[in-house]
Structure formats: C-alpha cells, structure tokens
C-alpha cells in the first residue's frame, strides 16, 4: 500500500497477508459486478455500441446491448479544448453504476515493448513537453499531472508500476507485463483526452467512468469469455481486425504473450471499400456479397488477406519455437462481414480455420429480448470493444 506524504515523498507500507505492495506485486481484487461498456468514437452511424454486463454467481449476463447516442461535444484535440467539457447521459437500460469506455481516437496507442525501451523513451523526453499550455485548474479537479518519474541512482528512470496509470510527456499511459515477463504491453492516449473522458459522465448520476481504455486494449479482453477460448485453456491466437488496423494477440493460459500489429495492413473499412469498388457494388450490396455465397469475393479479398495470413503464420511459428506453444485455435474477431472467406483462405494456406464466434458467446442473454437486438455472429462483432472494456473492468478492480 502506497501512502503519499507530500507531492514528492511517498512511502510504501507492506501489510501481512498480501495486503500491501505495489507494482507487479499489487494485490488484485475482483472488480465491479455491474458495468456498462461503451465504445466511444466508433464512427458507427447508429451510435456508440454499448453493452451492460452483470456478473452473477461467476457468470456474465448481458443486461442490455445496443447503440447509444454519442455526446454533443467532441473529444479534445489539444489542451486548449479541454475546457469544452461535455456531459453524457446514457439510456436507462445502460445506467450501471460504472462505465468502461473503450476509446477509439487517432492518438491512442497499444504496443508491445520492453521495460528498457520504455525507460529510454521517458528519459529522452524533453522537459518542455511536460509544460503543456492550459494545464490549470478547471472545475473542481486539478489538471496537474504527476511529475515525471525521478531518475534512479544510475541515471535511469524506473519503469512505472504495472497497471497504474502514469503521466509522461503529456501522455497518460499504463503498462502490464506479458506472460513472457521480458516484454510489456503499453497503452496510452493524450492526457487531456483522458481528463475530458473522466468527467464525461457526471458525478452523482449513473454511470460514472471507472475505466478508460484504448479501443485496441479493450479488444484484448473480449476473447477471454469465449467458450472455445476457455476450452483451449486460454492458449490461442487471435486476429483482431479493427476499422483501420489489424493486429495479433497470442495468449498462453489466458495471459497475453504476443502482441503484434500487422505492418501495412489496413482495417476492415478499407477492405470493404476495396470490395465495393472492385465488384462495383453499392453500399447495401457489400454486406450481402461478403456474408452470402452468391458471388465469390475471394479474388478481391486475397491481396488484402495474403500479407495478414503470412503474418499469422509467422506469429504461430514464433509462438511455437520461442514459447513451445502449439496453437490449435485461431480466432478472427472484429470483422463484421466476410469472415467465412477469411477462414477458407486461412485453411487453404495454413491448414488452420479461423473461428469467428458471436461476441456474446459464453454469456447469458436476457429473457427480455428487447434489450438486446437480434443479430448473428458477424453483426455482433460491432460490440467487441464495448464487451472487452466491460470484461476488463470487471476482471480487475483497482
């Protein structure tokens, strides 16, 4: 347990029975049992995908799912815009005590790195970058961020504790170690955006933000409750396809082991546009072509899929050689249409089919059907970020 005496002095108290300690040894407790996950900035014309999850007797229940109207204001792009604070009110079905926001902005990042590389980055950061304009008191909360980590005896900046949000160079970031402890995963976004998001849902009214995650970081948790993932003891490779990027995540016993973004690969929006252009389809026909078998879009998809499948093969090889992890199941998540063609191409090339389950698989759906729209597995992929954010927030309370 850390107690901050002054702005610069902090003492650490270790309590018996694991009640103290910081960093990687920090005690973990179960998170809230009723959380609404909302994808903020999805760009979906229907609204922001939102899923309210509750945990009863160890099982996750979907209380409600749907699209909610986005807030009036725009997420700030600079410190100056931070003063334009918007407030957001969710519909009644989504008014859980806590909200987990999966935020999709161009400034967010998620990457695999090493502690040494992270330390080097923070040392090389110019001090002037810390002095952001507009960092003054707004409202009741001070916007002053934490001071930069103090240099250690050897002149190196110590790595920030795992799971604790830290500010550096105007960026709020958080790290977690991978299953291979020599690597860490780092996620972050500009500090002003986090501050703006923290007050987006006002105090004293349900819900309030208990978690703000980068969209890609939220996706990592979305697979944890999939029955086939659990059946494989958490050993799997997941191909996440977002609107604008594609990345792999390898899991060993449920812990993240590998995170790799496909270089040069663009998301499913680009793929959809390509199909639309090459086949001369209008907007409504694209989904029909990709989800049905009237026209085979494989020739159009193949140039798009080939480098990704090559990266998939490399990743599987890496996991097999480096970690002796033979992956039997590969998931393809986040792709709203055409998943069956991707699976066929993967099976032809790698002899490994791609599994695309419903994002709600493994969860109890409400008896009252009106709270969850009817959808198939492909259509449910749009809720992937919202579910991942909620599951992550429920997994660990901090």
């Amino acid at each position: 347990m850390q107690i901050q005496l002054t702005k610069t002095k902090t003492i650490e108290v270790k309590l018996p029975f694991g009640g103290g300690g910081g960093g990687g040894g920090k005690s973990r407790r179960r998170g809230p049992s009723d959380v609404v996950g909302v994808e903020f900035g999805s760009g979906d014309p229907r609204g922001c995908p939102a899923v309210r999850l509750t945990r009863k007797k160890g099982r996750l229940h979907v209380y409600a799912a749907g699209f909610v109207k986005p807030p009036e204001g725009e997420i700030p792009q600079s410190w100056e815009e931070l003063s334009k604070q918007a407030t957001w009110s969710l519909p009644v079905d989504f008014q859980a005590p806590g909200a987990a926001l999966a935020v999709s902005t161009p400034d967010m990042f998620l990457r695999q790195t090493t502690p040494d590389a992270l330390t080097a980055d923070s040392v090389s950061a110019p001090k002037a970058a810390l002095e952001q304009p507009g960092r003054k008191k707004i409202g009741l909360k001070s916007l002053k961020s934490e001071p930069a980590p103090a240099a250690g005896p050897a002149g190196k900046t110590p790595a920030p504790p795992a799971g604790v949000a830290t500010s550096n160079n105007g960026t709020r970031f958080v790290v977690q170690p991978l299953a291979d402890e020599s690597f860490i995963v780092e996620s972050g976004m500009p500090e002003y955006q986090v501050l703006w998001l923290s007050r987006l849902l006002p105090e004293g009214k349900r819900p309030t933000a208990v978690s703000v995650q980068a969209y890609n970081a939220a996706l990592l948790s979305s697979v944890l409750n999939q029955p086939e993932f659990v059946e494989a003891d958490g050993n799997a490779l997941v191909l996440f396809m977002t609107r604008e990027s594609v990345f792999f995540a390898g899991y060993q016993e449920g812990r993240l082991l590998l995170l790799r973004e496909c270089p040069g690969a663009q998301g499913h929006v680009f793929m959809r546009e390509t199909v639309k252009k090459r086949l001369g389809l209008d907007e409504e026909m694209v989904d029909s072509v990709l989800n049905e078998s009237l026209i085979d879009p494989t020739p159009v998809l193949e140039p798009f899929a080939r480098p990704i499948l090559q990266q998939l093969e490399i990743s599987m090889d890496y996991l097999s050689r480096r970690h002796a992890l033979k992956v039997d199941k590969v998931f393809l998540l986040g792709l709203p249409s055409g998943a069956q063609y991707w699976s066929k191409m993967s099976e032809d090339a790698l002899k490994v089919p791609l599994i695309t389950p419903s994002t709600f698989a493994g969860m109890e759906l409400p008896a009252k059907g009106s709270r969850v729209p009817e959808m198939d597995a492909a259509q449910s992929q749009v809720f992937l970020g919202a579910i991942g954010a909620a599951v992550a927030a429920m997994e660990v309370g901090e």
Binding site: R28, G188, L195
Partner: protein
Amino acid sequence: MKSSRLHLNLLRDSEKLSSSPVRLRVMLPVMSLLACAGCLVWWAMLATQLLLVKTQVSSLQDDIAGKEKDHANILAQMTEAREKQAQLDQLEMYSAARNLYGGMFARLAEVMPIRVQLTKIDIPDQPPQNLLPPGGKGKPAWGPTGTVERMSMRLMGRTTKETPVLSLMESLEAPEFTNVLVVVKDPRAPDVSPKVHSFRQDGTTAEEGSRLLLFDIEYRCRPRVFEKAPAQPAGNAADKAKGDKKK
C-alpha cells in the same frame, strides 16, 4: 487458466467519480448530526416527561396530605352517623315495642261490676335477665340477649261473692281487651291465662258486717317485641292514605 491482467485502465483512482447521488462524505456528517439531534430531542422528551411525572407525584402527595384531615373528619362523621342511626333504630324498636293499655283501662271501668273493688292493678317489670353465658363462666353479655319481654297484668281487689269476679273475667274476654290481654282457657296449655293466684276470704269485715273475698288474678299480656316495625308495602301505604282521606 490464469488471470489475464489485461485491464489497461488509463484512469487514476482519484479521477473516478461516484455514481451514487448520496455521497458518504456529505451524508455521514449530516446523518451523524441528525442522529445526535434526534437523541437530544428524545432525551429532552424523556426529561420533560420525568419532570411532569415528578410534579404530578408531588401535587398528588400534597393533595393526599390535605385530604387526610377531611378523610378523618368524614370517618368521624360516618361513625357518628352510625351511632345516631343505631340510636334511631333503638328508638324505633322501643316505639314498635310499645304496648298501649290506656284504652283497655278506659273500657275496664265500663265493664267493672258493682260488687267488685279493685285494690291494685299491677303491670310488673320484667325480672333482670341472666346475662351470664350458659354454665355461668366467662364474661357476661353487654346487653339483653332477647328481643321479647313477657308482660303480665295482675288484678287484685275485693268482692262480696264470687259471681261478680267471674262476670268481670268474662267481660275481659271481649275483643276490646283481648288485643292486649291473652286469654287461654285450655287447662292442658302450658301457660294458662288468666291465672287465679288466690281467691280467699278477707279477715276484716265490711260495714254491714258481711264478709269480703280477696282475689288476685294475673292476666298474661301481649309481649313487648323489640324489633323494627316491618316496612309497609307502598301500595298498602297508598291505600291506607286514601282511606284516611275518605274518612
């Protein structure tokens, strides 16, 4: 499957807001103050009630002390009233026990034969009662034990022969006398009335030289009953009153 540790939360604990409209940091002091105020009000009510009860107790004690004198006075008056009532009852009993002999004497003069001279008419007092308990042991009773007094009347006089006396005794059997005197001629009766105590010749002689006879006859009278006169029924009393008016 191990814990995933994939919650990459960018929020700090200090930035998390409470969704509850009731905030403990505000409500706890308010609730504490309200609880204290409630306790104070409760205690004040208890103290007020205690004070009221004490005041009532003291006023009741004063009231009782003030009424003790009156109570004793009332008790004394009640005792006096009982005594008076006892006296009245006694007087009423005496009144009820009164036997009237005047009318009988007035009639006696009318039926008196010529040859009879009464020398004494005596209604003797009752001999004193034995107030000792049976066996003669123990304390004597405070007053008479019976409510009935036997009464008698003795006629003593002189006559020249027996016949006028017998004529007088027959006259005394008339109803005008038997409401006072009791006549029982049956010789087997235990208490015969009249009882002739003596009928003898006098030693002295009359002026004409004839010899006189002395007689002593005792008549039993109606007894004196020391009891309250039975209350007459209302109907009878009203009828009697009507009868008096008609007369």
